[in-house]
């Protein structure tokens, strides 16, 4: 059995699955249930000056009959009195000393406010802090949340204030509502942040009710931009994570990966791209805390199969595999092949290639079943047909190198080689 226990800046947890700062970590009753279900840690719902929420708060994007591909909220930070939160944090830490208790913070924009909040939370028993520089709604108007995260200078300054006071590890949570999270990440690391986490939610409009014409979520006939999360944002989160893992400054600190993690496989992907652990919100909101059981078992089984003994054995292993376009091997070429025994004659490959790619599939008319074959000399190896085919392993891409040597775009140009040769 592999060891899936995690050590993030000295904060230990029995597994790398933390609940992200959000409604699931809003109060003792939830967090106790989460720990009973087996979660390794929580980032307590952001504490700060007290706020008031509206209803409704959530909306979702459904796709092809599947529900909640994407999730959207216009919720603010914790709307419960600070004192109650702090008391509950103390109680939970006593009940579950082996689990990670991180507290998310968002103080008013001055040094004293931050210092005061940090003191209170440390006294309550927090093992680490996460600075919320990402909340994209409500708080930004007051210069907090994403307004901080979007400005590297301000973010750096706030981290400096925090580091003056904090005696426990500090994670800075980055906003994705920027062209790149790296500049803010760099400033925060330079200002002393011990770790980074990303992503918070992405500003979005999930859809509009076609009867009322009011976008979702509906609040008395109006709506606002909400924060987007859930499975739909995973690709964006992975990309942003990779840029943080690749940068020489930000890659020096551990990263907590967030954004669309729903299964152990997602978690492994985040970790392969440099995250030391992951945080989960939407998946837990959709299915409840019990999903952690499969996350732990799946991760364990995968590690056993691959021979990884501990998390560090594979964390970051895929980072180097993402390179720059101009370094890709142009001589690599592959051609689609259709396995006629598996083909069910749906024609999806054909129409995709015919209408939108390179007209490389041949149709032999039949009644009622047509036969589809690849015109090898036309196929550019784009993969579109393989992606569209509904049958597993029916279309495979067969390697046909143009030449054995490695040639990239820069070399190609330098040698003055022809461009439109296929």
């Amino acid at each position: 059995m592999a060891d899936i226990s995690s050590n993030f800046l000295g904060i230990k947890s029995p597994n790398p699955f933390w609940l992200a700062s959000a409604p699931p970590t809003d109060k003792k009753i939830n967090v106790v249930r989460a720990f009973e279900a087996g979660w390794g840690g929580v980032v307590w719902k952001t504490l700060g000056s007290q706020v008031k929420n509206v209803s409704s708060r959530y909306s979702a994007v459904n796709f092809n009959g599947g529900r909640v591909m994407g999730f959207n909220n216009i919720e603010l930070i914790s709307d419960r009195p600070l004192e109650i939160n702090l008391r509950e944090i103390t109680e939970v830490v006593k009940m579950f000393p082996d689990r990670a208790m991180i507290v998310s913070l968002m103080a008013d924009n001055n040094r004293e406010a931050w210092h005061e909040l940090i003191k209170k939370c440390e006294d309550a028993g927090a093992m680490g802090f996460e600075l919320n520089f990402g909340c994209p709604h409500g708080m930004t108007e007051r210069g907090m949340g994403a307004a901080v995260g979007q400005d590297p200078e301000i973010a750096g300054m706030v981290v400096e204030w925090v580091m003056e006071k904090a005696t426990i590890p500090v994670i800075t949570k980055l906003t994705p509502n920027v062209h790149s999270p790296v500049p803010t990440g760099i400033k925060c690391v330079q200002a002393g942040s011990n770790a980074l986490s990303l992503i918070n939610t992405i500003q979005s409009v999930t859809g509009i009710n076609l009867d009322t014409l009011v976008p979702n979520p509906y609040v008395a006939g109006k709506s606002v931009f909400g924060g987007y999360c859930g499975p739909a944002v995973k690709p964006i989160a992975l990309k942003m994570l990779t840029t943080i893992s690749q940068d020489p400054v930000t890659s020096k600190v551990p990263i907590s990966g967030i954004g669309g993690v729903s299964t152990w496989k997602d978690a492994v992907e985040f970790m392969l791209l440099g995250a030391s652990n992951v945080q989960v919100c939407t998946a837990a909101m959709k299915h409840g805390f019990r999903i952690v059981e499969d996350m732990c078992e799946g991760l364990n089984n995968w590690m056993d199969e691959k021979g990884y003994k501990k998390l560090d054995d594979f964390i970051g292993k895929s980072v180097e595999k993402i390179t720059h376009w101009e370094d890709l091997d142009i001589n690599y070429h592959h051609i689609a092949n259709i396995n006629q025994d598996k083909c069910i004659h749906c024609g999806l490959c054909y129409i995709a290639c015919e209408d939108t790619s390179h007209q490389s599939i041949n149709l032999e008319f039949g009644k009622p079943y047509n036969k589809y074959t690849i015109k090898e000399e036309e196929c550019v190896g784009c993969n579109l047909c393989q992606l569209m085919c509904p049958v597993d392993d029916c279309i495979t891409m067969v390697e046909h190198r143009v030449a054995p040597d490695y040639v990239n775009w820069k070399m190609w140009q330098a040698e003055g080689r022809p461009l439109n040769d296929h």
Partner: protein, 446 residues
């Protein structure tokens, strides 16, 4: 043993004749299956539907909640798409070709059920999805208000042609109304569908007008710019064996006709019923006799299961209803004193292939007999041979011969449906009606 009616309680009748293929009970339920459709290109299901409904398109439209568009897609190819969704033998048509047939452990897309979903909503809301062009003064007579006649009339009316339909019965729908098993469609539904089709305007049906009796082809040819014959096949084929005229021997067509036109409790049925034949009509007669309360129903067929004309799905319906089957049994004689009480059958074996390509039944000389109090004959139907012959139209044993899918040998007279093909499915008749309308439109130079 006796033939009698009122065998069951009203609740039992209602249950026995309720929908055999129940509809989706919610949009979500339909959506789940609709989303499974792959949206095949040049889809085999469409190619296997005689009316060529763009199946992937109408299913996609359900997934986008464009039910009106979905119904339009269906009805523009098949104006009887609502009833076809309930009566088509889909296992050998659209669903039989669905690519999911190649995927192990995956059910095919329930195309007919999805078709029913959209068309029922369209009919319930009485969405008129087609416009009629302004009248162009052309007049066409259609004989027979069955699927072929109604489909032809609808296309003609859309083109601005004024159509008069002459129908010998008191209701429209043809065998939809008078022939198809009651657990597939109700007479009430057929009436609604006829009304829906007529909703486009420009079509008048004159009921209780029989060609050859109340009206004559020569007169119609003078009064109209064209005539479309859609009279179906009507007469049951006789067995030509002794005892055929005893009390208690009935042909399946009239048995079903009665059942479709009266209250179930009024239909007399025996205790022990023999049904002769293994076509769709035989299945319908056997299962409905059972559902009317017959204690034992035995189907007799002179070949083996491999040669049967009905589909496996249909045979399963009969078997699940508790009907017995005896293969390789050919009726030789029906016995009784006034009333039938016994049927004697020859035991057959398979010989060389015959004209149909199936191995022919050969008499072994052995016989057996069954005690029965009712015999239902479903040995096929015959065209209206005399009527067609007396009209001077080229035909094969009463089946109208056509060129270009619908053109008869007599100028200005067109034909389609069962009266041409000798008896297929509703969906074939609807397509024939479309072909007929196209030929007439061409003939009229429109």
């Amino acid at each position: 043993m006796s033939i009698k009616n009122n065998r069951l309680t009203p609740e039992q009748y209602a249950e026995n004749f309720s929908d055999i293929h129940p509809p989706f009970d919610s949009y979500t339920a339909a959506l789940v299956d609709a989303n499974r459709c792959l949206f095949c290109y040049d889809a085999p299901c469409t190619k296997s539907c005689p009316t060529g409904i763009n199946v992937p398109k109408f299913i996609k439209q359900i997934t986008t909640e464009n039910i009106k568009g979905s119904a339009h897609t269906i009805l523009s190819s098949n104006i009887m798409g609502a009833s076809c969704s309930k009566v088509c033998p889909v296992e050998k048509l659209c669903e039989g070709a669905c690519v999911y047939n190649f995927v192990e452990h995956e059910a095919v897309i329930p195309i007919a059920k999805l078709q029913r979903y959209s068309t029922e909503i369209a009919m319930k809301n009485n969405w008129q999805l087609f416009d009629r062009k302004p009248s162009n003064g052309k007049k066409v007579a259609v004989i027979g208000a069955g699927p072929a006649g109604l489909s032809c009339a609808h296309v003609l009316s859309r083109e601005g042609i004024d159509v008069t339909v002459y129908e010998k019965e008191a209701k429209g729908g043809g065998l939809m109304t008078y022939g198809i098993a009651a657990y597939k469609v109700t007479p009430g539904f057929c009436e609604e569908e006829v009304d829906y089709i007529l909703g486009i305007g420009g079509i008048e049906i004159k009921y209780k007008q029989e060609l050859g009796k109340d009206i004559q082809l020569a007169d119609l040819q003078k009064q109209y710019d064209a005539v479309y014959l859609a009279i179906g096949v009507g007469l049951a084929r006789q067995l030509e064996i002794p005892g055929e005229h005893l009390e208690g021997v009935e042909d399946a067509i009239s048995f079903i006709y009665n059942l479709r036109s009266n209250d179930y409790s009024k239909i007399p049925v025996g205790d022990k019923v023999a049904v002769i034949g293994m076509g769709m009509t035989a299945i319908d007669a056997a299962t409905q006799a059972k559902r009317l309360g017959a204690k034992e129903v035995t189907m007799l067929y002179r070949r083996t299961e491999a040669e049967k004309p009905c589909t496996d799905v249909e045979l399963d319906i009969a078997k699940l209803d508790g009907c017995q089957v005896i293969w390789l049994a050919a009726p030789k004689e029906i016995k009784g004193d006034g009333k039938v009480n016994e049927i004697v059958c020859s035991v057959m074996k398979l010989g060389e292939p015959d004209a149909s390509g199936r191995r022919s039944p050969v008499d072994t000389g052995e016989t057996f007999s069954l005690a029965v109090d009712m015999v239902i004959k479903a040995a096929g139907q015959m065209p209206f041979e005399e009527l067609i012959k007396s009209s001077g139209i080229d035909n094969k044993g009463g089946k109208v011969t056509v060129s270009d899918k619908a053109v008869s040998s007599v100028a200005g007279v067109f034909a389609g449906g069962d009266c041409v093909n000798g008896g297929k499915e509703v969906v074939d008749a609807v397509q024939a009606g479309k072909d007929g309308a196209a030929a007439i439109i061409k003939h009229l130079g429109l």
